[in-house]
Structures are given as structure tokens and as C-alpha cells.
Symmetry: D2
Amino acid sequence: MINYNFKKPVFIVNPKSYLYGDDLLKLAKISNGLAEKYDIDILFTGQLVDLPKIIENAHLIVTAQHMDHLTPGRGMGHVLPDALKNIGVKAVVLNHAENPLTLSNLDKTIRRADELGLITIVCADTVQQCKAVAELEPNMIICEPTSLIGTGTTSESSYREETTSAIKHVNSDILVLQAAGVSTGEDVRQVIREGADGTGGTSGIIKAPDWEAKLEEMVSSLSRM
Amino acid sequence: MINYNFKKPVFIVNPKSYLYGDDLLKLAKISNGLAEKYDIDILFTGQLVDLPKIIENAHLIVTAQHMDHLTPGRGMGHVLPDALKNIGVKAVVLNHAENPLTLSNLDKTIRRADELGLITIVCADTVQQCKAVAELEPNMIICEPTSLIGTGTTSESSYREETTSAIKHVNSDILVLQAAGVSTGEDVRQVIREGADGTGGTSGIIKAPDWEAKLEEMVSSLSRM
Amino acid sequence: MINYNFKKPVFIVNPKSYLYGDDLLKLAKISNGLAEKYDIDILFTGQLVDLPKIIENAHLIVTAQHMDHLTPGRGMGHVLPDALKNIGVKAVVLNHAENPLTLSNLDKTIRRADELGLITIVCADTVQQCKAVAELEPNMIICEPTSLIGTGTTSESSYREETTSAIKHVNSDILVLQAAGVSTGEDVRQVIREGADGTGGTSGIIKAPDWEAKLEEMVSSLSRM
Amino acid sequence: MINYNFKKPVFIVNPKSYLYGDDLLKLAKISNGLAEKYDIDILFTGQLVDLPKIIENAHLIVTAQHMDHLTPGRGMGHVLPDALKNIGVKAVVLNHAENPLTLSNLDKTIRRADELGLITIVCADTVQQCKAVAELEPNMIICEPTSLIGTGTTSESSYREETTSAIKHVNSDILVLQAAGVSTGEDVRQVIREGADGTGGTSGIIKAPDWEAKLEEMVSSLSRM
């Protein structure tokens, strides 16, 4: 993993494919303002074609939702890590349940990110998968039971505590994000109290009637931890 | 397929993952100048994060190298067609041998492109695959024997004539591009004389010492057909 | 496609992964008896490790549920066509929605089957996919809207008539099987009356309280067409 | 992992897709005779349709080259673990470089094997992948640099010692197999001396002019360790 001095706890805003264009940029600007106001690290993901505009928001850690492990050359339709780095992308999420990687490709892609100085954030489901991913030495692991994705249901405390502890036992330098179903300030406080290094959201934010109010509720809870 | 009034024969500049950033933009500008000078349609592909800058070159048909068939919503790390359309992408290449699609996903992705008004360019290998793809009604088919990709070797005349004829027999509205190993003005004239509706290149252009001279050699041959 | 003189209409019993071992063999014996009694061609699929026992039922066209396109050599964990042929497998189903193939691999696998003299049965969903598959020249196409798989709901008459007609228009030598949700003698008669060359079932048979009675109801309806 | 009392060091004969039918059975019989003569555990893999005959060789640990993680039900063309168990398969190899699994599916498939009492043997490439796999708790890990597969070149001593040590550090109950390019009695002695719990081969055996002589050379070296 690359060396990066995170302000902990961190927050990830992950609009997946829910938003693009102006809506995505609007959410990025809100996130950028809150990152500055509360002096926290917000990782912000988006569609690749929209990242150049997102990058103008200087307080965000702009994050790709996927990349491949190739080097410049052949590779039609693949996401070239060097192209991401070149426009100012700082981080990449890998192995989300909606875009799973083979173990071999996951390892290779983390190594390519390391070469280029990109932050790696890897998703994992069971305790055993969390430990396996920890051995691959990413910067962060997002623990999320696959069955809960998109449901708005938070994971069990026992799951969160067990996965956080298992990862730290393998490598205490890895930040652990517990984000499943987190959608309120109280959810944020709860998962951080239990030992997570960060949290975040997708549908809990996107589906809120007032993005700014919702994000401020969550982010302000984080900053007071 | 969407209705689009192409200036035939067309040309595709497909830098795959060979180029990104400033180099890619440089090649785009050269291509844009030649598209204007010779009044031809040039499809130009690039890394997704670089497409917003490429789009400023108004004479190019800016083309994604891949997309998925999802609609806005869940889908982490997927390429959302609506996001491409929104920034001004006009076309998409699908099913390249380096990024093959299941038959089902290929069908669904062409249908999503049709909904959004995106030009579809689908790669195919054997005569039977060319006919199968033609039944899916894309705007263009690129015929290329997979074994020749990246070799700089042109396909056989017999292959080109057989695939072009087979596609036209299924659906005469589909444009056929014959581009395998095409890297000189003479190559361009040859494949167009044989009945192709277009051609193009990757390594034949990228590896040339002078991109502008090489592209002008190829494009000017095309425009005189 | 290989040359094979089918007794039409044909029937496919496809237990997928519902059955194995003794239960699968029991269903095979029932099917074998009915194939003989009614003098019809029954294609019968099963788990690969169970096929050697199924093959002892001489009136069945024993069918693999998938194979790869490799030739003997490297290829760990792949299904070698030559190994299937060698034990007496006669046919293979390809591209089921639960096991979709890239267009390129589907083409290659049909060609390998042709080389070895194996009957090819390819699944397809939309009208356009049915036509595309027809261009690849398999012996049979199973038309089934993916959304209906496992639901017990039959496809619409309009879907069945349109797909059958579209396939026959591309290549009238291809047998068309309409099997979505077919689970009664009346369903069988209906799809055959509409022009299908065959039908069959999975859950409609497996979930019936009396397999023999259910199968005889369906198969006897077929034989009287 | 399931509890299994291996005679160490173990040996794996892995003919991949090189052999099938009578040739595969011939190699199985030779392996069976040597397993008995030298009182060692030989894991023997083969095409799924050939496994029922291989199983008659009672001294072999008969091994599938792949399986899926489904339970009985839907799943067309998938390899049902219960069907393997039912015919007497004792072990399964997973995640070979020629058949890589997503991290999530690898975890799920090991868990299904555990449920059914099947031995799990998982392939891994780099030191980091070896450690990650060890966290998933299979019975054995085969360490092999992907770049060497099929080349007949042995891995470096440093690679073998580092991967063995790394795996044992994570979980000392896991047996480590070092088999890359191993093709002589001396190769066998070397890797076992360095700390491996087993070894084996594919092309080193298959391509030998006399299978029995070659296997006996390797296996007898193993038994004297």
C-alpha cells in the first residue's frame, strides 16, 4: 500500500451508477464544501467520464470505481491506471460485489496502484474474505455483507466488530470502513465507536430528499468522533 | 441501429490503451484537423477519463471503447451509457477480442445504445460471427481475425470479401470496416476497393514515427476513393 | 451443424443441477422407457459425473449441459469435448442464461462439436439473439425469455411464433424448441401446434409429485402431434 | 478445512485436459499401484466424466479439477459439489491459473467443500496471493508462479521457501505443495528438503516416454523423504 497520511475517521461518498453529469457534480460540490468545513478526508467516486470535472473540487480524494491492471499498450476498453493517475485521480475501489475480481487480478491491480501511488480501497464480504484481502495490503477495506448491498439495512454489530478486529490482526495499517446501510448521524457514530476507521454511503445519501442536510448530518457526526 | 448519415468511407482511429493524456489529445487534434481538411467521418476512441477533452475536437465522432448496458442505479465500476451520452460521446465499440461480451450482453448493450442514440460498432472474427453480429443490427461491424490483432499483418482478401459480403447479405444498412493490419495508403485503397465501407488502425498509426504524416497518408487515400 | 436424422418433434429433459446420483438415474430410466414406448427422441442432460451411468439408457440422446472448446492439452478444470464424445455423449447444450458464453466462444464451441460429431443445442432469449444464434448453425435452438426461467410461466404465443419464424427464416434446418414454462400435455400440444420442432422441461417435471405420470402426460402429447 | 489425516509428503498427478478415457485410466492405474506400493497419498485429477472409473482405484484420492459453489437446484452446466461427493470424489482443486475464481466465489466454494467433507486444494501465484488463500483455510495450497505453468521450468528456491514460510506463518495446518516444473526424482527431493509438504506434476509426467518409470522415479523419491 502507498503511504498516505489520512485524517481519520474518513468518509466515502460512492454514487455508483446512480448519478452522472450535473447531479454528480452537484453532490461532489456539496461533499467538497463539507470536507473543507469539517476538515475531514472524503473519498468521492463517480463515472470515469465525469471524474475530470470532479477533480476541480480540491478537498476531495477523487476515486475511480474500478480499474484494470494493464500498462500502456494493447487492451481495448480497459481502464488504464496511468490514465487515471494522469488526470489527478487519487484512489480506486476494487472488488465491489457488483464488480468482483479474481484473486489474481485483485493482487495485480493493487500492485499497479502501488507503483503509481494510488490509494487502494478493496471491498470484502465474510470475515475470511476480509482477512484474505488484508494479506494483499490495500490502504483500506470496506466490509459489507453482500446480501445487504442496496437494502439500507446496517450490518450486525457482531459482524462489524469481528471483521474490523480480524483485519487489524492481519495488518494494523489498513483502515477499515464499515458502511453497510449507514444512513444517519447515529449510524455513523455507532460504527466509529465500535472501532471502524471510516464509513460512508450510497443509497442512504442519494435517496435523501436533501443531499446537503443528509451529508452534513453524517459527516458532522464523523468529525466529532 | 440508430439513423446516422455517415460520409462513406469512414475511418476509425483506435489508440486502445496505448495512449492517454497529452499524447492522446495530440493524436485527437491531428485526426480532427484531417477530418475537417478531407471532409470525412473519423471515429476516435480513447480512455474514458480523457474523452471530455477529446470532445472539444468538433470534427471527430468521439467513441467509447466499451460500455455496459445498465441504466442509472446500482452498478459499481460499470460504464453507464447515459454518462457517456451526457458528455457528448457519439459512438461505442463493443465486443473487441480484448473485451469480449456474451451474446446476451452484446444484444442488450446495442439496444441501450439505440435507446440513447449512440452509434454502435461491433467487432467480429469469423464469417459466422460476422453474420451473427449483423443480426443484432449494429451500425458498423469491424471484421478482424483475432489471431492478427496487434501483429501488423493484414487479413487475406478472401477473408475481407467473404465477411463483407456475408454481412451485407444479412443487412445491407450495416457499414463494414476492414482494418486488420491496415497501415499504409495502399492498404486503405485496397480494402475500400474490395467493398469495405471503412477502415482504420491502431498500432499502424501509433508506432509510426510521424503520426500526422502517417494518418494523412491513410486518410487522404480514403477520401479519394 | 452435424447431420442427424431426428424424429420430430423432439423432447428435452433438463434436470440442470436439481438432481444427481440415484434420483437423476431414476428420471433417466423413466425417460428412456418413454422414449422407447412412444418412439421419440428424448435429449436428457445431467451432471457430468453422472453421465456414464445415464449412457446405459440406450434410447436417450445423452446430453452435456456445457462444454468448452479446447482440444486435448492444457486447460485445468475445463470440460474437454473429446472426453464427452469418448464416453458416448451425443449432444451438448450451450449458452444457457445461467451459463452464458461470449459470442466468440459460442462460435468456437459449436465448431468443435461439429468436428467431433456432437449435436449442438443453443439457448437464446430475444428475437435478435435467436437470429444471431441461427447464423452460428447449431442443430437446435431453445428459445426462452430469460426473465421466465424457473418461474413456471410460459412465454407468450407471440414470442414463440416470432422466434420460431425468425430462426427458420435464417436457416430452416435448425430445429426450434419452445420450452419456457411448459409443464402439461396441453402446453406441449400448444407449442407444437404453433410450429415448434420440440419442447421439454425442468422444474415442471422435477417438481411434479409423480415424475413418470408427468413425463408421460407431456411425451404422449408430443407423440400424437 | 476438513480434518484429514494425510500421509506426508503427498503427491498430485494432474493430467488437466491432456488425457481422457483409456489413457487417463491407464495413468490412474499406474498411480494407484504406486500409491499402494510406496504407501503414500496420491491425489489424482481427471475429466469429470472419467472420474467414475478412476474411483475404482481405491488407493487414489480422486480429485475434481474444479467445482462451483451451488447447492442442488437451478444452475445449468455448473459442477454441483453434491454430485461429486455422491460418486466418491474426495478432493477438489480450485483457482488454477487456467480457471481463476473471484475471491468471493473461492471463499464460497471452499465453504461448500467443508460442508460436504471434501479436501480443498487451492492454487496461488505470488507470496501475497499465497497468504490471502491461506486465510481462506483450504487443506492445501499449490504454489506456482503463473508464468511458469506448462514450461517445465522449476520455480526458484527463494520463491518456494518464501511462499511455504508465508503460508505456514498464516496457518500451519495447511499443506504446501511446490510443483512448478517438478519432473525428476531430484526435483522432488529438492522441494521436499526445502520444506514443502508435497509436490506433483502434469507435463513432466504426461510427456515422459514411460509414465510408470517416470512416476516411480518421482514417487519413490518422495517416499524416502
